[in-house]
Amino acid sequence: MEQILTKNKNIPKLQDKKLKWSQGIINIGLTLYALVTLYPLFWLFTSALKTNEEFDSRPFGLPEVWQWENLKRAWDVSAMGTSLINSTIVTIISLVLTLLLGALAAYVLARFQFRFKAFIMGLFLLGMLIPIHSTLVPLFIMMNKVNLLDTYWALILPYTAFELPLAIFVTAAFLIAIPKEIEEAALIDGTGYWGIFFRMMLPLSLPALSTVAILGFLRFWNDFAFALIFISKPALKTVPLSLSVFATGYATDYKLTMAAMTIAVVPTIIVFLMFQEQIMKGMTAGAVKG
């Protein structure tokens, strides 16, 4: 396998020059596109440091005086410290549950034949279709009955449940593409299904799981609706609630909203970069091992 990999690098020799040219044009195009997509981030950071008057009169300009105290003010008023801790706890546990349960179900659905399989797949499909706002009242009533409200679990369990379909479908599609022979060899060696799952399938599907992790993270970290309804104790509030305290319905304090968002976006970027590395590493690692 390693030989093939090294060979791989030597292949594109033909029409080298032409390739370089088109590659160059593509790279310029990509760079331009990337700049366009990066701009909002830059805009967010500069807007966070303006006055409200400036924010509106010159939305695309730089601040005249950089209002650093906006960040401090936003942090204090929105109780961002507590929110960050809560969001981190809720997001990590939800992610672990989603990945573990999702990967396990995906492995079963991708690799085994059994009755009701199509039905179960259909059931999971259903969950991707419902607009979450229409589940708020039923969920509230249910969780109230079992005393889950106002705990971390009131967010963790619904988050995980709602993310499962995506996790299962993405991972299953990925697993189906892995050749069956690998698994059969292991079975003959006497490895059980749990062993195959933990020692082969999980590592092999690292790129898919990382993808699921990124998407799940974003959903959990940014969810407003569930956090608004299922959590009432101030000590358990998550980040999106802190972000929305500055709009009163009659007026929006844009500078502080932007400042709070600036603070909240930093962890997201870090997590994204971390998992992106995993997607790429999954490739090289998987190939060498296989």
């Binding site: 909002p40 981030l41 706002h133 229409s134 589940t135 499962l164 790129p207 974003l218 997607i279």
Partner: protein, 291 residues
């Protein structure tokens, strides 16, 4: 015999936790909400059973169909715009070089930002007085196509679709990249050695290998488009006069602003049914496999 019970046991234990959690928190509320659809209920006080009246009203409600039409526009734009763009970007960006990593990260950035930020920025791009778009059109001598982008019903829906497409390319690209990592290098190389051209290789080798992922992405795309809410809510709130209303925003509005709980639930059930039809249809079309 023992192996088959072992397999059955594994299947059961493997599926059960996910299935239980999922049924309790997702399936039950879906049917519960469909059940509310049979009531005339303001959300407080007593509810009155009215049979199918809400559902009949939904299907005769012109605003519901405006929303559906707008949703279909978004579905079309996503499936035929977002997915191909995401695929092209994924094909161009499978390497681990620093440059590629940076580009990938930036393409994903709009997703990382809250829809509020993205919505506000695009609001300023389209702003009738100080907007960038009209400014650029002025500067390039194209004044005649200047518009009040978000308030003019003839263009507002299209104006909204641009940021929606742009915003959600990242996730699909990432899913595609992960799938491409999984394609077996031997087959790729064999094809290259056989002198198969890059375009043919794409259609005959690469795409068939990730066909299952493409199918999943289409499902995600359709379901995501039919639930589209955040950006529209921030940018126009469904207005002016419902012209940019989508099903989810109409549902939210009926439930929480207009206080027609039963009716909102009926809309939401209608959304599920329409999505199911669309998705099953798309999967049927895609069955004519490459393989």
């Amino acid at each position: 015999m023992t192996t088959s019970t072992r397999i059955k046991g594994f299947i059961l234990i493997g599926l059960l936790p996910a299935l239980l959690l999922y049924s309790f928190f997702v399936i039950v509320p879906i049917f519960w909400s469909a059940y509310y659809g049979f009531f005339d209920w303001k959300g407080l006080g007593s509810a009155k059973f009215i049979g199918l009246t809400n559902y009949v009203e939904v299907f005769n409600d012109p605003i519901f169909w405006t929303g559906f039409k707008n949703n279909m526009l978004i579905v079309a734009a996503s499936v035929f715009g977002q997915v191909p763009i995401a695929m092209i970007l994924a094909l161009l960006l499978t390497r681990a070089s620093l440059f590629q990593r940076m580009i990938r990260a930036s393409i994903f950035m709009p997703m990382v930002l809250s829809s509020v930020v993205v919505g506000i920025i695009w609001g300023y791009i389209y702003h009738p007085q100080i907007g960038v778009l009209n400014f650029v059109l002025d500067a390039t001598g194209l004044e005649m196509i200047k518009k009040v982008w978000l308030s003019d019903p003839s263009v507002s829906m299209y104006a909204i679709m641009v940021p929606i497409i742009w915003n959600y390319i990242g996730p699909y690209m990432i899913i595609f990249i992960a799938a491409l990592q999984n394609t077996s290098p031997e087959i790729n190389d064999a094809a290259s050695l056989d002198g198969v051209g890059p375009v043919r290789k794409l259609f005959q080798v690469t795409l068939p290998m990730i066909w299952d992922t493409i199918k999943v992405v289409i499902v995600l795309c359709i379901s995501g488009s039919l639930k589209a809410f955040d950006l529209i809510y921030v940018m126009t709130g469904g207005g002016p006069a419902h012209t940019t209303e989508v099903l989810a925003s109409y549902m939210y509005n009926s439930t929480f602003n207009v206080y027609r709980f039963g009716y909102g639930s009926a809309i939401s059930t209608a959304i599920i049914i329409l999505s199911l039809i669309l998705i099953l249809g798309s999967q049927y079309l895609m069955k004519r496999d490459y393989r």
